[in-house]
Point group: D2
Chain length 452, copies 4
């Protein structure tokens, strides 16, 4: 327990020696950056920015916090830090950097998430048993990968290779969101209710929930620009929509409390059949992270346990809960097409993750002040009634990265928008997030829809 | 164990006395039928026909066979016999037949499947523990309900009430299919491999698997006629489809064996993520009911255990298996819209359940001889890649029958067509069957699709 | 569902033909009995008596009742009927009756309980899925075995063979008790609460609970006579006991209700650690078969659901419950040695199973009227604090019957005495019954002990 | 992830402020020690020695290692460090040190293992989710408790209070063994196979396995001295034993490999019924920590993964495995009385835990060189065929410490001796260790016995 000493990274067994940073790889990153062409430089700047954000996220945490895993669906923060580096090592350095020596041969297995093309994977539910490599060693691994990426970018690279690097950056952004949802889930089991942020939310007036109508008709959905997007956002294609309307903001905690107080969690008539079975099977009687204390609702947040913040958008709701709430209101959830068509008509709100806040954004952002629909982005992901299916003509990429999205197209619901823990620049109208209907630990909320 | 004696139906407790058939209710059904108006008569004929088919299905079975339940998803045959009667009693006799006395007060609870509007339900997974009422008592219950339905139809009834009767008939038809799939599943656990039918299949030449192209474009789907249909088949609405093509017949056992022999069940790259987890978690290495005996594939059928019938359409496949097979071929499964649009262009093959056969139909039916697509109906339900979702504008009926379809619209895949155990007259192009992706015990097969 | 017709016993597959009773085997049993020597005759009389009791037990039941299995620890009655016949076929007819043809080759596998020496076994938890052979076919199997046993006994047989026959008779007696405990458990899941017996219990005055002292010292335990006994009852051997005292009767339902009403099921301080975990894990809040109805305790009995019979010995208690009750009283349970030493000093009460009663005997039997300890036999098995271990020098028999008792000597507690559903002649002071500490479905009660 | 910074121990929530070490409590421990009377001084020396050993054990570990929990039966090392301090705080400081302020109010709940008298407990299986308090904070907690114990011992204390302190010391010794077994279990899931010790075992000649005979007869067992012992070791009492013999040493890995190679794990005839079910249910095919690599058996040890050390005593065996091995040899395991009677005739080998070794001791210790039985202590705990039951007249202590041993007297087997990770001074002939029959993760081995 020598907090100050650095023991051999993997004690005991000489077989698992890791590659040490050498003088060559340690050559100043700035030096190398100067030799890159401007396109590579630009990409490298974004790479470095993203890598730094991962470090910033874990800054207030202790090594102990980075090891724990609260459920198979969540991963230790340390695993996220390593896996995002594994992604660059596996898909960029190994195939494209001549002479690259892997940092540690066992990492290919330990930090592979689900890429069967690459090879077998360490059992997902046991990730929380992997105390070694330590946090310090994972930091060294990250540094080693960064150094080598810098070297790689000094060389001529094909468009396809650069696309993979961009995919890796977006992949790490997705894991940044997961780091925060996963540590929140893990901390919620601790009766000390640790806090990550120091946010002091102020009660705010809640805008009236209005309805915005849309004409429907033949519309295009899917990504149509020239920038980065995931394969599941295409091909863009026309759809036919009947007229519809959407609520102008998300449902608040206060509104959700009305549902709870009205016996919403005890009335099977409001729930999907699977949802009711899930409620019964898991003895769920209130939203995740809510608890009664001295007759008052509290909820655990990333700034600690608090009396229920009435004005904030309700979050951590499963699809089942979102659907039951909409039923209770006599409304429904939107389809992914409806949501996307409506969002196309608004400016993109480019706000994103704010480490001091980490609460669902509830006000009116400057960028969206004049927008019709509030909280499209940066607050809570919004469940749609659309199952996650391939768009017509969708073909996954060949090779391992083809496993990124396509193989999950079953038993998942599409979520649109983005949340308060989504990194800046990671939101767009065509984005298709997806989770199983029972998932609660993401920042997921409710925007209601209705027929016209 | 007095097989010949009739003890008190429910031994011991006087509290549970059942209503006995009285002279009044026993008054000849024919007499009453003569007093019905012709519309009621016509409906009653269909009612009687359906009720008789249930009796015919269980005819070769023993009382012992009717009690067993092989898994929570399946039910004892005796439960099906009682529940279909409960449906008529609950939704027609209790509300609309003045003075009706329920046969047995506890049956409301015992034979309620999932209607929360009606009240709580006996635990589904324990249905196989309910030896009482006996088979004989359930027959009496059925007779009692039939008598009372006859009486009901001598009276003037609203259109809505007649629609409920029609719903009840179609409901019993659905359970007739389930009786056969459930007893097949239960019998498959018995090393004596009991047989229900005496079918002697003859090897047949297998037609070449050809591809039929369709232009796509704007098409209508959903039920547009004036006859009976389930609420989930509407509203009819236009959709936009790209051009596509469909295989002209289903995949055969022989073709599926090629997949098995090629290691299809061992290659994660072919499977959806959930599908691979399902395979691993349940140690599945071949199709349901298949087993190796002395180096040769056999499969259990409703006519007993047999060497694999190569020419028959492959069935009892989960969505995961169907999808993996299509991946292996470099193809895909159809969407429900594609299937329906193609089927609209063909005559409806009105063949149906044949108690002496009970095998997937593999030949060319007279009605479909000149049709382009073979085996649309009467062979195997065909998995589509479409999740089961509400059509735009769908509203479930009010009251308990509103629970019939709507609350299952999550985590299910749509199946189109019908199977060899679907009763005659129960098939149509707009029919939307649905099961979870892992379900194997229905007669479910593969029709492949592809982009043009 | 032709209750009156006899179809082919195993439908469909010609491979599983059963042996038919022939003229030779049908030759009158009485004829053969006359040719037996007197020792064989005497044994055959007991054999026939036991076989008839099995038939008598199932007489009031329906075929449907004989198929159901409520938990892996219990078996369908039909299985018990077949398995007890399998025992005679496997251990007597196959090895010792020259030319014997097994009734059905698959039965060796289907009705083997746990004898690995004999071969693999059908999965215990799935016994309730085996509708075939039918009840009628099992009756024919029993008749076939009886005929052949009669033939066997016309021949000269070794002492060891006759001992196996006696073991088979005692084995069937054990299963007779299990038939009644298993059907009670299964019926308890039926909201119709079927009854097997027509018992009308009369409230009786309850004798005061007194304490009888014993001096302890060096005592012999284990079977020392010349009659039948199980291998686990020997070798007889001396033990050293401190002085002790035993309660003169069992704890009643009324006394147990005081424990329940005092919060006994909510106080962890009264329970063994495993017991409390069992309570929590299974949400147990009252004794098995007890339920509150309109503010009053009822319990399900083999004569139906009744208001709690206060004066009857409490039964269906797990070891955990028995121990917690004793803790609550500041007492303890006896050791098996204490119980046996005390019982040796009393006449054996030879009462036994009474099919019209089937309730724990609560009065004073004629035979025990002058006895100090009441209800040693014929009421409830009595939990001891002794784990089930081999006596010093114990060696299981060689061969398959060596698996009868020895391999269960771990994680079980010894029970002494016998119950109201133990067949007559099956009780003795040295008898060692055993069940895991959580078992509740046997007729198991509480006799308290204390140090002097 | 600031390894070098010390954030607020419990981030965010002001409610959980911990007591800080003040000048008064920090007053030099030596100063206070000088004011103790000699009996208190002596005890305090042992206290300090034990507390230091806990620190020494974790010295080579990283903070990440101290958080992980590999199964509900094991605990994180950090939890052990805190719980052993909780024991002193709860049973000594709170009741007996006037004015004592608990370090952190929530710790009473968080670090209570199973004392229902004290209050409810944090869910055992979730201990691995508690990243806070951090390792550093737990060290402060330990220091705080040590300071206050020093203060307590400057005051006059009753005999009973001093006995509780002695119990606390022995309690921490037990947890020291658990720290090592638990981290070994957790590390074994890591494909990097971390090592704690740097032991280089040398192959040694293996002494012949001889048999030592004992006459049996009336013998005393149980603790009869005046020193510390657990309540379950008494009362001492006479027992009657037949003659018996014991193997002079433990079974080695090499001997166990013969059993494995002979198909021991595939032959149900060798196993207890529960043992075989455990084997099947957990797919166990070799001893814990063994694995085949390139055709050779290896095992994971606290000095890393190694080719099987043939000469070392076999360990990490469940009772089921120990019993099956003995069956295979035609022998049996000893009873706890046999083991204790034999051990009484030998000098006590006072060797104990050696942090540089951490392997089962296989040689002949100086103290036992002339002893008949080798490896009674300091190598592997030795399974006995005796279930863990109360000795005649046993009464647990009143109050919470009465829960220490008594409530576990069900479904456990007694183990005798001690292991290579038992602290020095913690072994004696009357010691009764106990674990469930399936437990493998302790250092548990096989000494065989036989009848004479």
């Amino acid at each position: 327990m020598r907090a100050d000493k650095k023991p051999n990274p993997v004690i005991g067994s000489g077989k698992h020696a890791t590659v040490r940073l050498t003088a060559v790889t340690k050559k100043s990153i700035q030096d190398r950056e100067r030799t890159m062409d401007s396109k590579h430089q630009q990409l490298f700047t974004r790479y470095q920015h993203t890598r730094k954000l991962s470090r910033d996220i874990v800054e207030p945490l202790q090594p102990e916090d980075l090891v724990i895993q609260s459920m198979p669906d969540a991963s230790p923060i340390k695993w996220h830090l390593a896996h995002t580096s594994w992604f660059f090592e596996t898909f960029l350095l190994k195939p494209f950097l001549t002479g690259y020596r892997p940092f540690q041969s066992q990492f290919e297995y330990l930090f592979n998430s689900y890429y069967n093309h690459v090879g077998p994977q360490y059992l997902r539910k046991n990730r929380g048993l992997i105390s070694r490599p330590t946090v310090t060693e994972v930091q060294e691994y990250r540094q080693y990968v960064d150094d080598n990426i810098a070297t790689l970018l000094t060389r001529p690279l094909s468009e396809a290779t650069l696309n993979l690097l961009e995919l890796g950056i977006n992949h790490e952004q997705q894991h940044q969101e997961l780091m925060l949802t996963d540590i929140k889930h893990a901390f919620s089991f601790n009766p000390l209710f640790p806090a990550l942020a120091d946010h002091q939310p102020q009660p705010q007036p809640i805008a009236a929930l209005n309805w915005q109508e849309y004409a429907g008709g033949e519309q295009m959905i899917g990504y149509r620009g020239t920038g980065f997007h995931f394969d599941n956002e295409g091909p863009a294609h026309p759809v036919l929509l009947p007229p519809f309307k959407l609520a102008t903001r998300l449902i608040t905690n206060g509104e959700l409390q009305d549902f709870v107080d009205d016996g919403g969690y005890k009335n099977p008539l409001l729930w999907l059949s699977d949802g009711w079975a899930w409620l019964q099977g898991n003895a769920i009687a209130q939203p995740l992270y809510w608890q009664q204390m001295e007759g008052q609702w509290h909820h655990y947040t990333l700034s600690g346990l608090r009396p229920l913040l009435q004005h904030e958008p309700a979050c951590h709701l499963s699809y089942y809960e979102a659907d039951a709430y909409a039923q209770w209101c006599g409304k429904r959830l939107p389809t992914e097409c409806e949501w996307e068509v409506a969002a196309q008509q608004q400016p993109l709100d480019n706000s994103g993750l704010h480490l001091g806040r980490l609460h669902p954004h509830c006000g009116t952002d400057p960028a969206s002040a004049q927008a019709t629909l509030q909280q499209l982005y940066g607050s809570c992901w919004q469940w749609t009634q659309s199952a996650y299916s391939p768009y017509p003509g969708f073909k996954p990429a060949t090779g391992a990265v083809g496993e990124y999205n396509g193989k999950f197209m079953c038993n998942q619901q599409v979520l649109k928008g983005s949340s308060c823990v989504t990194p800046q620049g990671h939101s767009r109208a065509s984005y298709r997030n997806f989770f199983p209907a029972h998932a609660q630990w993401q920042f997921t909320g409710i925007r209601m829809a209705d027929d016209v």
